[in-house]
Symmetry: C2
Subunit: 794 residues, 2 copies
């Protein structure tokens, strides 16, 4: 990630086009810096002959190093006078190893930065040039703007002073902006005929971007000595501190920007502690600035965070990578700042902004709805999509749907008081969101507020876990004929999740019996239950409880009674699947329905839905639920809706996310991961995880571990802690050593730029969990497994 | 807006740069179309000598019209061999009227399209060239991509085949994408040395964009006759239908894309009716496809909507503009698809994606929080910002804050049941969002669901309105000593909102007395009230009820008791301002506090906050509220938070919105509007509106109108309807004639492209309301006033 040193200002120089004077102006920057007595490191990572034709001519003309303060270096040089993508092709056919991968390219630069920062004892400047235009391909084929994004260095855009240059400069700027780059300045030649600088100065002023226009170089002299003299004079002139439009002034400006950036990062913890009220945080236990994670940027699986240590040596970067170990509260799907999602957001914003939705339609929403109904989680049962803003509101909508459907069928004789207390059937440890209605669908607990009123009945869930390398089913006393909890061993995880085969086992029959017994008792008491609400397979916020799927299946079957499997009418009570956390492959399957062998009548998705970018939720409903609201009376409609319902940006990002996920579902990486989880060679597992099964098993054997589970991108470790519960700090303290960056001498880490990385993790009481994106690479996960192992096994 | 005709396919051609062959390739497209016997209209809106140097050379070479099927035309021609921004400067100094404004440019093109579509009796093609690169400035100074955005024509991007052209082509594409353009194809020369087409074909395949690469033109012959022959041969070859990479194939592809687009628009109503569950819509009363508004795109104050009439004549565009009369459910602030908001969204997406927020910080959230606290609605009283996703969740957070703060101070002896029923004090007609907890803060009504339990007491609000040209205060019987409603005349609106001056009037004392009486009665009954919750000044969803501000002021003062004005401790009960709808200048003031003369302890903003782009909400709290949650126990924290809490995109868009609004607040347009509302020449009004006071007064005199009110961007008309209430269709039916586009012979409308426009409006029972963006131009509002007047006065 970004390397940021107080005493070493680094800028990366992009070109609005090729032949815009990138090398001349970078040379001038280097010279201007040396005039101010700063040591300069001038890095040109890759040079191909052709790209910098005109520029190279000038770099030659500038007569080598102007001063011994300039250290210049080129990491990869190719002399083919063609575009890099062709140079790469030719090199590949010669010798594959000559072409650096993006990681190697970025790693080399990051290493050179680190080495240089470690060596230099006083403030210095570093300029890193790119090749060609903003989107010219690197040797690997990735374009410059994407390839260098992991470094996230502040940039200078060299504008185009030629005819058409206004356009290429603005477009180049926009491409940098879409990658989140900080563009500190545009610098360009002051061509007096086209006067692009004049237009661009105004244009960028509004955007807060400084434009520096400097005189163009003199024409070439035929006499080399005269040429050298003219060139020296030219550089002297444009780097003079007396000239208003000089590069010297630009250097001062860049220094000021650098100072502001450092100062801003340093001030952020204090300012945050004075203005922000964090979610789910007890501010009374926040010790001070050291407890604030300053996220300067993020890329793929990593945050780039600022060190909050005033005693850091100048040789250490103020920023370091931190693995986003909770997938940013379970949202990250394709990694942070994925260009495809930015594009999706930008094109929807550019086409629509937001447009109101009642009785209206637009392509992003319509396509998303159709996708969800035909190939997504609604496949085979859902007929309608209702949009809202987050999992909690999506669940409120689901509950409103179920209450109404149930009341219409059963409620003729209900009193107003009875309607207010229609019950939810669910599982203990459920969590359906933070709004008060969604909370009322769960038991009272630490999360609930004054108004909370638990409406319903909740079963204790039987749990799945790996204990000391064995797959176990822990059945609570309340579901056992002996009234005592018992633990059963299972042959494999795959066996456990093969629900259909387990229905007629003794455990299956016991579940059915206990459920029936409870329901009968409730009925006798007059409790009216209007909906079954479950988080399929995993209760997330309740503590990553992996529920025995057999129990959930039998629960659904029982409440539905004799409903035929093919019926689309809900029966007994509407069944709601809260798949906000578990859905869309978070735990390896697109939806729990096929695994459980039953579909819901209503389901909710969010989080992964938008790839981890912006809030959006969908509540899917069957035809029979939808029809409960149909009439000729407006007051009988589902009178719910948020201002930004079905906002086009969210829908477009969701469409893009689902397309990308479908690609992943067919990827070689997932195939390999699935194979690892097969119960035997050649067999297919019902469930799988991106985490290594061997690693999971080893963790389960640790003395500090009670049990462990992994599905999809989720790994949950239940620690042996006497003081169980949400407010326990046991796991938090145990995992503390993960937080800091671990120095791995010699080796580059898989974090962007190869820097040592820390792990940002969340715990739920005595449960520590880790969650990757769906496209996190095996290398990253293996490295993370090593980190976790080394912390836990010590 | 977009002109879309079934029988006339139109494409606009942008260049990745200048001198990329735009004119040659457009000429080839025109010729290929004629070969297929399509009549072709080739429009080059503006030509400046320099921009198309190389191209113009070829257009000359192609020997004029290749066929009488081609009609070609240039609307504005300038021969200065310079960039358009300089050509414009020179022209301006010569004769100002020669420079077309963006509106005039776009209007001229739209007119030519309309004329051409009306004339042509059989399928044809139209190609509209742009000048220079994607972002080359037009004569007005606006860049091409922004200037032509109102037309929203499907585009072709001419790629750059030269060195550096990969970069400029991708960047050009991204600039078009950020404006929402549909890019149907990239077409470029097949340069065999740089082979950019090869790279770009792969690159764009992933993005679903077709790339066509065609042979470059032959070098120029010195003999004009030979040159003409060579040129004809060249065009013949590249437009041949036998060649795989020919322009002929591209024409077929573009025809296919056009057909798909038309077919898609036509299919959208039916598909929507089969998959979408709309918010607040009784699907049972939706008659069919004709009731679905298909929004193809949106720009500034207008949607571009598809006609759903199968019997439309081919001479009519399938799309027409519709004024977004409800500001898309009260969200639009700067108009749809504002480039500055797209940029803000893109740069935050590129820098962060989303990053988790508990104990973390990032610049967009921090800056937004500081802005809100120091210069925004929290100025002078708030100390903390809590983020959530929409107004409803923001209000749930506010209620949780108030309940806790009150309980800690007063709740030691409260039973669990009492806590569950802590009451809200509010006004009848209040609406605080759709989630169940927020609903419980209002009375039972048509919006509420089975679980709803009205917790609290609600006063009937005294109302402000203009009745038959007089400002009136309507006091309900419940607040009157006579127990009968009475209507008082006020000298002016400005007087009504000068609250401080009215406190010691008889009405003020009467309010105080009645409030005290009710509170005493409630106290005697043992009702525990834990928060005063009000929508300041206007109750929005309740029916645009403009509340007498004096009543709200006295209500706040009364519940607070003897609290000193300077105290930062809440007293009596926490006061919550729900400014979700009214805040941030929607009704002309940034926040109601200064007008009412009292600040809340908690306030909520959303809607305008993000300029009308994406959901985000903030709950602001005073220090004393925040401190109620401080302890060393995690369980006592505010345990609320959504996954996307403080998502950087939303925060960055909000920051940009607030910056733009501050500019508007100082603008000449607002100054003029304010002056119109001054009670007398030279005096300042306490309140003002973008709507014309004269118009508002005239509306108030209409026999169908009970009363009317306008503040800020809001105009509300209360119609005389015996069947009052949310489910009334009176206003809906009365305003129906606004919906269709009104033909204004001769004159261009102020809608983009000057087309006749319809009005998309929403009603709340017998109240019709209209809402503009904060930057809607006076011309647009005057036109809208005329439309409304002509419908209502007939």
């Amino acid at each position: 990630m970004s390397s940021l040193y107080k005493h070493l200002r680094i800028h990366q120089i992009f070109g609005a086009n090729t032949e815009v004077g990138k090398t001349v102006l970078t040379t001038a920057l280097a010279r201007a810096s040396t005039k101010k007595k700063f040591p300069v490191f001038y890095l040109k990572p890759v040079s191909t002959g052709a790209i910098e034709d005109a520029d190279d001519h000038h770099i030659v003309r500038h007569g080598g190093k102007a001063s011994n303060l300039i250290h210049s270096e080129c990491l990869f040089r190719y002399d083919d006078p063609v575009s890099p993508h062709l140079a790469a092709k030719r090199k590949t056919s010669e010798n594959n190893s000559l072409i650096p991968s993006d990681d190697a390219l970025v790693g080399s630069i990051a290493n050179r930065i680190r080495e240089h920062a470690a060596k230099s004892s006083r403030p210095g400047h570093m300029y890193i040039e790119t090749a060609g235009g903003v989107h010219s391909p690197t040797l690997s084929g990735t374009t410059q703007a994407d390839a260098y994004r992991p470094l996230f260095l502040p940039t200078i855009l060299v504008g185009d002073s030629k005819l058409g240059g206004i356009s290429s400069t603005i477009s180049g700027y926009e491409s940098l902006l879409m990658r989140g780059f900080i563009v500190d300045a545009v610098v360009m030649f002051r061509d007096e005929y086209y006067r692009n600088w004049e237009y661009l100065t105004e244009y960028f002023k509004e955007k807060g971007v400084h434009v520096a226009a400097v005189d163009p170089p003199p024409p070439r002299h035929s006499d080399p000595a005269a040429d050298r003299t003219a060139t020296e004079e030219y550089y002297d002139a444009i780097t003079s501190s007396n000239e208003e439009n000089s590069i010297s002034r630009l250097v001062d400006y860049l220094d000021a920007r650098h100072a502001i950036r450092v100062q801003e990062l340093e001030s952020m913890p204090g300012r945050t502690l004075n203005s922000i009220w964090w979610p789910f945080v007890q501010h009374g236990t926040v010790r001070g600035k050291q407890d604030v994670t300053v996220i300067d940027s993020a890329y793929k699986d990593y945050f780039s965070v600022a060190q909050n240590k005033s005693d850091s040596p100048p040789s250490k970067s103020l920023l370091h990578p931190e693995f986003d170990g909770s997938a940013s509260w379970w949202t990250q799907t394709l990694g942070h700042a994925h260009p495809a999602l930015t594009m999706a957001a930008a094109r929807a914003s550019g086409r629509y902004g937001h447009v109101m939705f009642p009785q209206a339609t637009h392509l992003p929403a319509l396509k998303l709805a159709e996708r969800l109904l035909t190939t997504g989680p609604g496949k085979g049962w859902a007929s309608r999509v209702f949009f809202s803003d987050n999992g909690s509101t999506g669940m409120e909508v689901a509950i409103k749907m179920a209450l109404r459907a149930w009341s219409i069928r059963n409620g003729a004789e209900l009193t107003s008081q009875e309607k207010k207390h229609l019950g939810i059937l669910g599982l203990k440890g459920s969590y359906h969101g933070d709004t008060i209605g969604a909370m009322d669908a769960s038991e009272e607990g630490v999360y609930t507020c004054e108004w909370h009123e638990a409406k319903g009945y909740w079963f204790e869930p039987p749990k799945i876990g790996i204990q000391n390398s064995e797959v176990t089913i822990t059945v609570p006393g309340s579901l056992s004929s002996s009234q005592k909890p018992h633990v059963t061993k299972a042959p494999s995880l795959s066996w456990v999740y093969n629900v259909e085969e387990r229905i007629n086992t003794p455990l299956g029959r016991a579940y059915a019996f206990q459920i029936r017994r409870v329901l009968d008792t409730l009925q006798e008491k007059g409790t009216k239950l209007a909906a079954l609400v479950i988080e399929p397979l995993v209760l997330g916020a309740g503590g990553m409880i992996f529920v025995d799927p057999l129990f959930q299946r039998i629960l659904v079957d029982t409440v539905r009674g004799r409903r035929s499997r093919s019926s689309s009418q809900w029966s007994g009570m509407p069944v709601i699947f809260d798949e906000v956390f578990t859905g869309l492959y978070r735990i390896g399957v697109p939806s729990a329905g096929p695994l459980l062998g039953v579909n819901p009548d209503i389901s909710v998705n969010a989080k992964v839905l938008t790839g981890g970018l912006i809030p959006l939720s969908v509540t899917l409903a069957s035809k029979s639920i939808f029809e409960a609201f149909l009439s000729d009376k407006k007051a009988e409609a589902l009178l719910h809706g948020h201002s930004y319902t079905a906002h086009p940006i969210g829908c477009e990002v969701a469409n893009e996310t689902l397309i990308q996920i479908e690609k992943l579902a067919k990827s070689e990486e997932w195939k390999k991961a699935r194979e690892k989880w097969a119960p035997a060679e050649g067999e297919e597992s019902t469930v799988w995880s991106l985490w290594d099964p061997q690693f999971v098993t080893e963790i389960s054997k640790l003395p500090s571990v009670n049990e462990v589970m992994a599905l999809g991108s989720v790994l949950a470790i239940d620690f042996k802690d006497p003081a169980k519960g949400y407010t326990s700090f046991f796991a938090q303290n145990l995992l503390q050593p993960l937080k800091g960056p671990s120095e791995q001498k010699g080796n580059l880490s898989p974090a962007p730029g190869g820097a040592p990385y820390g792990v940002n993790y969340r715990t739920l009481g005595n449960v520590g969990y880790f969650m990757t994106s769906l496209n996190t690479t095996p290398a990253v996960i293996r490295s993370l497994e090593d980190r976790i192992w080394s912390v836990l096994s010590n």
